[in-house]
Symmetry: C2
Subunit: 434 residues, 2 copies
């Protein structure tokens, strides 16, 4: 864990190094991923089965790539009723927030007699990648599938690796609640390839979303352009801004909730009180003694944890904007005032009773958020990821007479004579008429 | 030029080949681009100058990378007044349409006493790539810069290659009208690298937009993740749906307006009348005799032009959706009826007096549009490209009591105990209070 203070003479240098460290996501798996993509594109199901056999220790055949409806129903039925109800609470709240996001079309005629419009339409088919093994989270299924359904996507194809053939009942129950029925037991770069290019069993999709490991992220990067993708997900991170009036244990648990995700996860505390900072650090150490995932969490906290001591909250705003965190908790008396100054963050959690875990599960907004400082330019998953815009222009003779001549002048200036003629031929015809 | 008819026995096969041909954008420049990016990242301005010297035949030094204000003013002043006025007409209409796009924030408290919000904020810094040489179009400068300004981006850095050191007065005049003052005389993958990673002269940006050649497109693909990018632009394309009541010459000119862009551009006519199709084909050939860019346009028309004869307009809707064209002209009596069935298109031009050239210059909607069938999942440039969303969740004790327990159950089921504790510790404290 690093300790910084804005009063340190070396603060700027140390903070810049911190920023640079988090934003340089280097990948060394480009070549093996390229080989897998090429192979799946060429050999389809056969390649998909070969890689699944090799990487997931699962002897797959084309006819068992898809998890059939009976398997889904049987596994989902094993989930205890209280968990099904918790998933339903989450699903209802996620669906409701994403419905509120839905944008409106534009349609108006302006003073030049030109009618302009912008229409939002859903994608036809979306691929959802759900990480396998210990990171197969049912909450991720809801967070990825429900915005697509709210957007009106008619086909959602889900891929989830099943190492050793073991199905995850919670993931399948979440899929059931989210209305996803097309599910394949494949993962890794090979699953991304199948979704992007299609195989005999898996029809190609238009966009692939969902978090994954370095191979999945690189595969998404490589198929980008052929299909759409969401942001490349890196390790998760939280910035917690807290004054001394907080319970140090609450803050410590929130930091650890981030740290327990992944050894590379980053938990950052920003506070104006050195004594409180020490109390939180002590509480983290205390909780680590009993936390089940202490091995992961302590590695994350030791290697990537940061405590930044600031002079005042204005400084904290500035430091936070430079970090552009995926998650930001504001545990202050007037959290809205602080949040108003934040320009870059994936999601903000306001108040002393609103830990990030609320947003991970049941808040309603999406928990798939921009990592590695990409909140500077990227946003969390939303209905917008599953919609695209078509603009429309309608001009009749009146509109063309008014705006056409400027178009002719610009087309001629750009040396695009057919462009100019396509306008001027019509304008000439109209002049002939009048 | 290919002729297809939906009544052909081989139509499905030929049409599928056509689709596949346009969507498989293979790039062979990944390795040289990777080398350039690495070099610029390591050596900054020195590498930028070296590549500019080599590729643009321009002996650049760090102090001449930026085009100074005097140069911009002097070059812009050379543009004739009528063209300045035409640029102003275009700028006003583009700005007005993009203002209408601006989305609204969300903020509401729901029945669980949870306050949810979604805020749109502009990016801090955007890089605009403007192609050089013969493809340095002032209209592109307006189309890229104005949405960023409307979104509220405070810094716009423009890169335009200037082969042989020649400045393009129209491009600089357009930049002036769009309020862009930070302009660099560099292009290619090296310019993308400078914008993404920064050099001593060019501060890094958060997102890079604008069309470019294969090197620029590949460079954008490779820096994606470190910065945001817009869609990878491929060759331009138009689909024109026209009945026999159109002037064949108008349709021919519209096809050629697409074909004159680029040898790889694609112009497609869909009609229900074989005699009219022949008339258009004849008119294309006639116009090619005098068109200044006939060499480019005839290569495009010969190699990529397509005429598709359909039985009826329902078939035309279906064929158009599968093509997912960048531009769609609907030259029918009730174009809105036809357009209502279109699910995938970048921009639609409605009516017999609304050629695509209207939208290229003065319509208002953006002319930077998704190519190569990516309108299936992508959209034209807009204010949305320069904004990102931050979601907010605020819960007090009441809200946490209502939704917290479901979160605890899900966190425990996912094996994330610190997540569960961060909720349950607060819930326990609240129980103790009451």
């Amino acid at each position: 864990m690093k300790r910084l203070a804005t009063t340190d003479a070396q603060f700027e240098q140390a903070f810049a190094a911190l920023l640079n460290d988090r934003s340089s996501v280097e990948t060394s798996v480009a070549e093996p991923v390229r080989a897998i993509l090429t192979d799946v594109r060429a050999r389809g199901d056969a390649a998909l089965c070969d890689y699944t056999n090799r990487f997931d220790n699962l002897n797959l055949k084309p006819e068992t790539i898809r998890i059939d409806a009976d398997d889904i129903a049987r596994e989902a039925a094993r989930v205890p009723q209280d968990l099904v109800e918790a998933l339903a609470v989450a699903a209802t709240r996620i669906e409701s927030f994403h419905r509120a996001q839905a944008p409106r079309d534009l349609h108006y005629t302006d003073s030049d007699a030109v009618t302009l419009g912008m229409r939002w339409t859903p994608l036809d088919a979306v691929g959802l990648y759900v990480p396998g093994g210990k990171a197969a989270y049912p909450s991720s299924v809801l967070m990825n599938a429900l915005p697509a359904r709210v957007a009106g996507v008619s086909r959602i194809a889900m891929c989830v690796p099943c190492p050793g053939g073991v199905l995850n009942p919670l993931v399948l129950a979440a899929a059931q609640i989210a209305g996803v029925t097309e599910i394949y037991r494949v993962g890794g770069a090979q699953a991304v390839a199948a979704l992007a290019y299609g195989t005999a069993t898996i029809a190609p999709v238009d966009r692939i979303v969902g978090p994954g490991n370095a191979y999945v992220a690189e595969a998404k990067r490589q198929v980008f352009g052929h299909v759409g993708i969401d942001s490349i997900a890196g390790p998760s991170e939280v910035v917690i801004v807290a004054d001394a009036h907080n319970d140090a244990r609450f803050v410590a648990l929130d930091l650890l909730a981030q740290a327990e995700h992944d050894e590379l996860a980053q938990a950052v505390l920003i506070t104006d009180d050195a004594v409180f900072a020490n109390a939180v650090i002590g509480a983290v150490e205390h909780e680590l003694r009993t936390l089940p995932r202490a091995a992961i969490a302590s590695r994350s906290w030791e290697d990537h944890g940061v405590v930044i001591l600031v002079r005042d909250w204005d400084e904290a705003v500035s430091v936070t904007n430079r970090l552009a965190p995926e998650h930001l908790e504001v545990m202050l008396d007037s959290p809205e005032v602080f949040a108003a100054g934040i320009r870059h963050a994936g999601a903000i959690f306001l108040g002393r009773y609103c830990p990030e875990a609320v947003g991970d599960y049941v808040g309603g907004p999406n928990h798939v958020l921009p990592t590695s400082r990409t909140a500077r330019f990227a946003s969390g998953l939303s209905v917008f990821d599953f919609l695209k815009r078509t603009t429309t222009i309608a001009t009749g003779p009146d509109g063309l007479r008014r705006i056409g001549p400027a178009g002719v002048a610009l087309a001629q200036a750009e040396g695009l004579d057919a462009h100019a003629l396509s306008l001027s031929a019509r304008l000439d015809a109209l002049t002939g008429e009048t």
